[in-house]
């Protein structure tokens, strides 16, 4: 408890608290100001943040640059979508199956690719993601690249996912749970081995830790949480398609994690918010300068990424002083 109080005295603590409170009351605000679209953006931010946190587990803490993380949007989403398509609408069945499927896929991919390093690892994770992407494109029974309109998961009597505000709060609760898990993970013995292996793999191996198995476990857990974000994404749009798994999405996730601050607890959340803010505001801002310029927003966004990569090493999180972790 005293830890918590101490943490709240830092800038980071205050910013985080204000942010969480704002996120918690967002549905009330959007209703009061009749800004439903803001709530839609908010929901997407939360879903992407869960995916970013899960990527951060392996990328930020473990140094494993996976260029195929969006594939878990697909594994989670398709598991829900396929079950729903066959009339199994209950979330109590859909969700565990989807998470298990995502973890299983992560286990297989991890087992095959974690022996490689550097660019090889980046490319092999991309290859496996492309594999599933094209499988999705080939699944004619489930709409192929047209995708599939599905019904939302049902939790009878508990929560109605069609209600935008309830769904938003559910996403927020799941994000908080994911963050909680992540903080426990980072400071556990398990997490310390993963982080240690990032900076010096040989040393960890010499200390007697089976690094490969630890990494595989982390990769699988990350996949499971990634699958959770996929479940939510399918329910948010009531639609699944292979485009959920495109490599550009994997790239976006990496950008988000780096932008927010790798290997920090709240970095992925900051990164997601900043990413969506940029995406939504850059266009109107340029249009304000001169009508019609908004369409060329990427000519500004591109160099911004370059500058972030060059000069914002620690991401947004580092703007708030040194991290405790």
């Amino acid at each position: 408890m005293t830890d918590l109080v101490a943490a709240l005295r830092t800038t980071r603590g205050i910013v985080t608290l204000v942010l969480l409170v704002l996120l918690a009351v967002l549905p009330l605000l959007t209703q009061a100001f009749d800004q439903r679209y803001l709530l839609s953006i908010g929901t997407r931010v939360l879903i992407w943040a869960i995916a970013a946190v899960s990527l951060n587990l392996i990328l930020g803490y473990g140094g494993m640059v996976s260029f195929g993380h969006a594939v878990f949007f697909g594994t989670g989403g398709y598991a829900v979508g396929i079950l729903a398509h066959h009339g199994i609408a209950s979330g109590w069945i859909q969700w565990p199956v989807a998470i298990a499927a995502s973890a299983l896929w992560a286990l297989v991919v991890g087992a095959l690719s974690l022996r490689t390093r550097g660019l090889y690892f980046i490319m092999i994770t991309l290859a496996f993601a492309q594999l599933l992407y094209y499988v999705g494109v080939g699944l004619e029974a489930y709409g192929a690249d047209d995708g599939l309109n599905i019904g939302r998961s049902r939790f009878a009597g508990l929560i109605d996912l069609r209600d935008k505000a309830s769904f938003y709060w559910l996403c927020l609760a799941l994000l908080c749970a994911t963050l909680w898990f992540c903080s426990r993970f980072a400071n556990s013995r398990f997490g310390l081995v993963i982080r240690g292996a990032k900076s010096n793999e040989l040393r960890m191996a010499a200390l007697g830790f089976p690094v490969f198995r630890y990494r595989l476990a982390a990769f699988t857990i990350s996949g499971a949480f990634g699958g959770l974000s996929g479940i939510l994404m399918a329910n948010e749009g009531a639609y699944i398609s292979p485009a959920m798994m495109s490599w550009v999405k994997s790239g976006d996730l990496i950008v988000i994690v780096v932008l927010g601050g790798m290997g920090t607890l709240f970095g992925p959340l900051y990164g997601t918010i900043a990413f969506f803010l940029l995406e939504e505001s850059l266009k109107p801002l340029l249009d304000l300068l001169r009508k019609g310029w908004g369409e060329y927003w990427q000519i500004v966004f591109g160099p911004m990424l370059v500058l972030i990569a060059l000069y914002a090493r620690g991401g947004i999180d580092s703007l708030m002083g040194r991290s405790r972790g």
């Binding site: 990328l59 640059v65 080939g138 004619e140």
Partner: protein
Amino acid sequence: MDYLLLQVLNGVQLGLLMFLLAAGLTLTFGIMDLVNLAHGSLYMMGAYIAWTFVGWTDSFVLGALLALPATFLLGVVVEMVVARRLYARDHLDQVLATFGLILFFNELVRVIWGPAGKSLAVPAFLNRTVEILPGVPYPAYRFAIIVVGAVVAVLLAWLVARTRLGMLIRAGASNRRMIGALGVDIELLFTLVFGLGAVFAGLAGLMAAPITSVKIGMGDDILILAFVIIVIGGIGSIKGAFVAAMLVGQIDIVGRAFLPDFLKTFLSSAAASSAAPAISQVLVYVVMAGVLVWRPTGLFGQRA
């Protein structure tokens, strides 16, 4: 038999084109340790610049010859403004920054040349078919690509194996610190190599242009394939890039030309015609994953 020969040639032509692109990529990675996603943008710029010059000079060959130094200059500018700041960074920063460059170049092209694609006509003297064997016609332009690609591959092999620049490149690929110790102006070497890579990418782009048309984002699709090639071959290895490019070229053609008929021998016709494109689409990725599981640093790569 004629049909088989035609398809093998198609694979060789595709492979050589990919090799041009992959060679620059593997050079910049081998020497400067740079993951350059913007390599595909240089490919695109090569094609657009060539289109402009061909329009001015009214001659494909003249326009192409002018476009090459122009892409070299462009490569040098990209190197001096952005790339050189990235050499010492980790791969993640490089991916991020060069991804930003892709977005920038794609938009830039739209501002300068407009959203509609451009078509570059095949030069008149190549706009016919040649008989590679009696009664087996092959497009002369594709044949020209094979010739140019082969010449460049030989030239590159000579450059790497026999010249001082090549010696430095080989030294750099195996031990980066060593070149510094040799008293070489590293900055200049890096700029030159980057420019050289840009020329290869530009050459690939302008040669592909009459076949695929010139369009925004044309380098993005092909970039991933180029990465697959250098990873299969072993990063930094020119020989590896060549072997892998040939392999990928043949795999692609086999998947498209022979797989459907092969599947029909044990699947129903309908199942085969829907399964074949799906399988051929993922074939190169399966091969790459297989190679990496078997050899984690590619066919000809050094241990990391």
